[in-house]
């Protein structure tokens, strides 16, 4: 079961801050981050990769991006 981060409706830097908080809490495993702008999608993916996590999936449904990151 992956950890969920719901950053819908939030603008930068909140989605990245929330993702990094989750990364620090989990250390490894799988995290699913929900955002609703392309900018947040790019920022969250970039931040996760900088922290050494892999972006394994990005799915868009009804304007919501679900970004799956794994380490």
């Amino acid at each position: 079961m992956s950890t969920q981060v719901d950053a819908r409706g939030l603008s930068c830097p909140q989605p990245v801050l929330m993702t990094i908080d989750a990364i620090k809490a989990e250390k490894k495993g799988e995290i699913e981050v929900m955002v609703d702008t392309e900018t947040s999608k790019e920022n969250v993916s970039r931040a996760a990769e900088n922290k050494g996590w892999d972006v394994t999936d990005v799915a868009e449904v009804d304007g919501v991006f679900r970004i799956t990151i794994r380490k």
Binding site: S11, C12, P13, V16, I20, D36, E38, E42, N50, G63
Partner: protein
């Protein structure tokens, strides 16, 4: 997923910074005021003056660059299916932040965009402004780390996202219907400057064209002068910063090539030498931009892609320009205005109040 956004890569953002830096320096060559090829705060202030929201005779012009920023971003957002109408993240707070961001910027005489263009033109006073900007953003990052946020937006009607683009189209229509008449300070409902920075501008089509290009590129690359510093302070991320530095470097080289580089502190165009207030004015502006989540340019680009809260921030800045000049808060080359210092202190207190009280954890 659609095409990968090349503008969101490292070379993408650096390329955008270079293009903006060159165009900004050239706009000065083509008629814009010194070290003011692009200044979002100054240009919104000039728009406020053209509409008569203040009556400072030397700063009145509907700046087509601002119109282009919003419409260029709108075009890019539609082309790449990123137009997302959204509202509802504490608009009144964003309005107040916009007002004080403008007040701070006009004490320094420039926004972050102009601060680096002043630096690239050799104006040493810009160093104080940039240090203030960094300090103000650093304060805001302390609040961000404690959970400061203005709440979530909600998706809304498409027409709501069109409000700021429609306002910009209206300004363009006014500019076309009531063009400048040689030697006249009024044309229909619009005010024009006969001298001073407001009288200095590149030809309309050039200004509009550059504005559209910058708006388009900035929407794609998420270019943000405040975010550049914030992301470095907060995450040690250099993505946006590399674009910002590319802008300074490109403007500097262009200035050298066209003979616009004049190093010094005294007698710089549209600048004063009161170091403490150059620092403090930009500290206030940086704090307000960071609490609102974007530099004044980014707020325009966001309003172009449907962000109604960013649009409210923009309106706050335009109203703030009216307040600044009507109340004697804005600086001039002679130094700070009679109430500028008091306004900066009040502004910092208001921003700290917002930072301290809006740090609730997000549900």
């Amino acid at each position: 997923m659609s095409l990968k956004n090349i503008f969101a890569t490292r070379w993408g953002i650096v390329g955008v910074g270079i293009v903006i830096g060159i165009l900004a320096a050239l706009l000065q060559k083509w008629g814009n005021p010194g070290n003011m090829g692009i200044c979002v705060a100054c240009f919104e202030r000039d728009i406020a003056g053209a509409l008569g929201l203040h009556r400072a005779a030397v700063v009145q012009y509907i700046r087509p660059e601002i119109i282009g920023f919003v419409l260029g971003s709108l075009g890019a957002a539609y082309l790449f299916r990123e137009f997302r109408p959204r509202v509802g993240s504490a608009p009144i707070v964003r309005f107040v932040l916009g007002v004080f961001a403008m007040i701070g910027a006009l004490v320094f005489l420039g926004c972050p965009w102009r601060a680096v263009l002043r630096l690239a033109g050799g104006d040493g006073n810009a160093i104080l402004g940039l240090l203030g900007l960094i300090f103000g953003i650093w304060i805001a990052t302390l609040f961000l780390r404690k959970g400061y946020n203005l709440g979530r937006t909600q998706p809304t009607h498409k027409a709501a996202g069109w409000m700021m683009p429609l306002i910009m189209l209206s300004l363009l229509a006014l500019l076309i219907v009531f063009p400048q008449v040689e030697g006249q300070d009024r044309s229909g409902v619009l005010f024009y400057s006969l001298k001073g920075p407001g009288a200095m501008h590149a030809p309309l089509l050039i200004s509009l064209g550059v504005g559209l290009a910058v708006g388009f590129l900035a929407q794609r690359s998420r270019f943000c002068t405040m975010g550049a510093i914030r992301d470095f302070v907060l995450f040690r991320q250099t993505h946006l910063l590399s674009g910002f530095i590319a802008l300074v470097a490109a403007a500097f080289v262009t200035n050298l090539v066209v003979g616009q580089f004049h190093p010094g502190f005294e007698g710089q165009p549209v600048a004063h030498t009161m170091h403490v207030w150059n620092f403090a004015g930009m500290m206030l502006a940086g704090l307000a931009f960071a609490l609102a989540g974007g530099c004044p340019g980014r707020q325009l680009f966001l309003s172009g892609e449907g962000d109604g809260d960013a649009a409210v921030f923009v309106l706050g800045m335009i109203v703030g320009a009216g307040i600044s000049h009507n109340f004697g808060l804005a600086s001039s080359p002679a130094g700070v205005g009679p109430y500028g210092i008091a306004a900066v202190i009040i502004g910092v207190i208001v921003c700290l109040f917002i930072g301290f009280t809006m740090s609730k954890r997000i549900a």
